[in-house]
């Protein structure tokens, strides 16, 4: 007998994902991100975080494995998957010769939103991100923080159900970082999903609903901070880490083997 109310499809479901360059960058990764959560990917440099995310958004072709975005096979039907996703890289490309308003209208247009609606959404986002005074100023004179905010606005303008961000807070001042965190949390509170990588462990600790730790191209641990602490304790054999342990302690304990192997 079939269930009357089936579980909603996960926001992202990755199975057996592999990608090799000279050596395996992603090595049989399995990962599931639920709808409506903020999921943070942590890992040492070269762990395969960015490669994974670039495969998810269709900017790299996996060697093997499957990627499903809200139930849609992203490799078989990339257009349908891209329609509900947004991507912000660690060094987002903003057209220097466009104003933020024009940039947001352009991005909205790429997702098929018509001009009037695009302008309304763009203005709302510029207000939200404190960019309204610069709305008609070309981006060429913007600081890195302002560019990051414009890129984030670009990711939000078509109201995607899944936002994928690579190091979104790097280079932001404290005020901008707090604003971006607030916007992302609000996005999640509205039932949407955010996946982000970060090297700032404090960000993961405070923001993430769940944290995934990647090392050597594989997911070596996943869960809430408390769950990660327990996994780290089991790994080190001390029967569970102290609840006072920071994510930094936990993270270093989890990736100790991979660090030693490297």
């Amino acid at each position: 007998m079939s269930m009357a109310f089936s579980e909603p499809a996960p926001a992202l479901e990755i199975r057996g994902l592999r990608k090799s360059f000279a050596r395996p960058a992603v090595d049989g990764l399995d990962l599931t991100v639920r709808c409506g959560e903020l999921y943070t990917l942590l890992g040492p440099n070269g762990a395969g975080k960015t490669t994974t995310l670039r495969m998810v958004v269709g900017l790299l072709r996996p060697d093997a494995g499957s990627i499903r975005v809200r139930g849609v096979d992203a490799l078989a039907d990339p257009r349908a998957a891209k329609q509900v996703m947004a991507w912000v890289s660690d060094e987002p490309m903003i057209y220097d010769k466009l104003t933020p308003l024009e940039y947001l209208e352009l991005v909205a247009g790429l997702w098929g939103i018509d001009g009037g609606e695009a302008r309304l959404r763009a203005q709302r986002l510029l207000d939200l991100l404190n960019l309204a005074p610069n709305a008609h100023q070309r981006c060429e004179s913007f600081s890195k923080g302002m560019r990051q905010k414009v890129a984030l606005a670009g990711a939000l303008v078509h109201e995607p159900s899944l936002i994928v961000l690579d190091e979104p807070l790097t280079g932001l001042d404290a005020g901008s970082a707090r604003l971006v965190k607030t916007v992302l949390r609000e996005h999640v509170a509205a039932g949407r999903t955010v996946i982000m990588t970060t090297h700032i462990l404090e960000v993961a600790e405070r923001m993430a609903d769940r944290i995934g730790v990647i090392a050597g191209g594989r997911l070596i641990a996943q869960g809430t901070l408390d769950e990660l602490r327990r996994q780290a304790g089991a790994k080190t054999g001390d029967g569970g880490q102290s609840l006072e342990d920071t994510l930094e302690d936990t993270f270093l304990a989890l990736v100790a083997d991979e660090a030693a192997a490297a």
Partner: protein, 388 residues
């Protein structure tokens, strides 16, 4: 108004960017300099037309006799220009695959990559045609003014030549992707572009020097033995030349044929654009051959390290190291040398020919503005290098 995400909509976006980039480049960002720019452009245009008048003014007869020699010389000159167009087109098409810039945004959006590619190819056609028209326009205008409007068909030939060059460049680059893979295509495409661009020009010039002792390529083309082996005046081979000389039917035929060729190229290449661009992106993550040499070099000790010497010597060593570790930069540099060698050597051999050599030198460099190593988009290590 165009539908968001359509070809027309993307084209409008590209045109807006291109216009703003060009204006910023010409005015150095100063809006008050637009008037100065206009005055300078007017001055340069007048100067170019004066030069064109002095060179071709006497040929602008209303009824130019299209004898065999004329057809050979015009065809040869057109082929020279076209080989440079093809070279420029190959570089632009390769850059369309390898330069990331906004490809992340376009390829992560639901817009079909084929549309973005079609627009990019159209933009390359426009830029190649514009660059060629810039040099050809004064000559065409002078001829049209003195010899009649029929000379204006030459503009159609410039457009047709640019269109055909970009179509062939797109097909060649994609064929390279499929045969030798994305890792090697960038380098090989660069070399092929150099060989196409320089090979014909340099070859013809060397032949002229060897057989006639002159730098003039036209001397070889107009020579009796060369004309004797050329096909008869009725041959289809002379249609481009006839079009340049004012044959409207020939001009329209070439324009239509090049349009069909470009459409076919877009139809073949566009569906593969995303695959090629994504494969090219993948090469950015893979370690390069040069980076594998880093460890042995480090093991080799102080000989290869940046130790000792004056700051100038260190900077020089750094430049050489970067150059040697990026084959694409090496190919660019060698290509510049290839362009420079014949005129330089000839200038050294015959001091009387020095002005001609200098003009060749200027022309070669003016045709290859994007391949300057320090300014090329694919060479971040050099581009970020502070001036030494």
């Amino acid at each position: 108004m165009s539908t968001p995400g359509s070809i027309a909509w993307i084209a409008r976006h590209e045109l807006r960017l291109a216009w703003r980039d060009w204006l910023a480049m010409m005015t150095a960002g100063g809006r008050t300099r637009v008037r100065t720019l206009l005055l300078v452009l007017l001055g340069v245009t007048a100067f170019m037309h004066a030069i064109a008048f002095s060179i071709v003014g006497r040929f602008a007869t209303p009824a130019l006799d299209a004898d065999k020699t004329t057809l050979v010389v015009v065809t040869g000159s057109a082929l020279l220009s076209w080989s440079l167009m093809l070279s420029q087109a190959m570089e632009s098409v390769t850059r369309a695959f390898y330069t990331r810039s906004d490809l992340d945004l376009l390829l992560s959006s639901p817009v079909p990559p084929a549309r973005a590619f079609a627009v990019r190819i159209g933009a390359i056609v426009l830029s190649v045609a514009a660059m060629s028209a810039l040099f050809a326009a004064p000559f065409i205008n002078v001829l049209a003014l003195l010899g009649g409007a029929r000379w204006l068909t030459a503009y159609a030939i410039v457009a047709a030549a640019a269109t055909a060059a970009v179509a062939i460049a797109a097909l060649l680059t994609t064929a390279l992707f499929r045969t030798i893979g994305p890792k090697r295509t960038r380098l090989v495409a660069q070399i092929v572009a150099a060989v196409i661009g320089a090979g014909f020009v340099v070859g013809l010039q060397l032949a002229a020097i060897v057989s006639h002792g002159t730098l003039s390529r036209l001397a070889l083309l107009a020579s009796a033995p060369f004309v004797a082996i050329a096909p008869d005046v009725g041959s289809l081979l002379w249609w481009p030349a006839r079009a340049v000389l004012g044959d409207t039917v020939a001009a329209l035929a070439w324009l239509a044929a090049s349009g069909v060729l470009l459409s076919a190229a877009i139809a073949v290449v566009a569906p593969r654009f995303a695959d090629c661009a994504i494969a090219a992106a993948g090469t950015a993550y893979a370690p390069t051959r040069s980076s594998r040499f880093v460890r042995p070099a480090r093991r080799a000790g102080p000989r290869n390290a940046f130790r000792g010497g004056s700051p100038i010597a260190l900077l020089r060593r750094k430049e050489w190291t970067l150059l040697l570790r990026d084959p694409w930069l090496v190919s660019q540099t060698l290509m510049q040398l290839l362009y420079l060698l014949p005129p330089r050597s000839c200038c050294g051999a015959a001091s009387a020919a020095r002005p001609v050599g200098k003009s060749c030198w200027c022309r070669c460099w003016s045709w290859r503005p994007a391949s300057s190593p320090a300014g090329s988009p694919g060479s971040p290590s050099r581009a970020r290098t502070p001036p030494s």
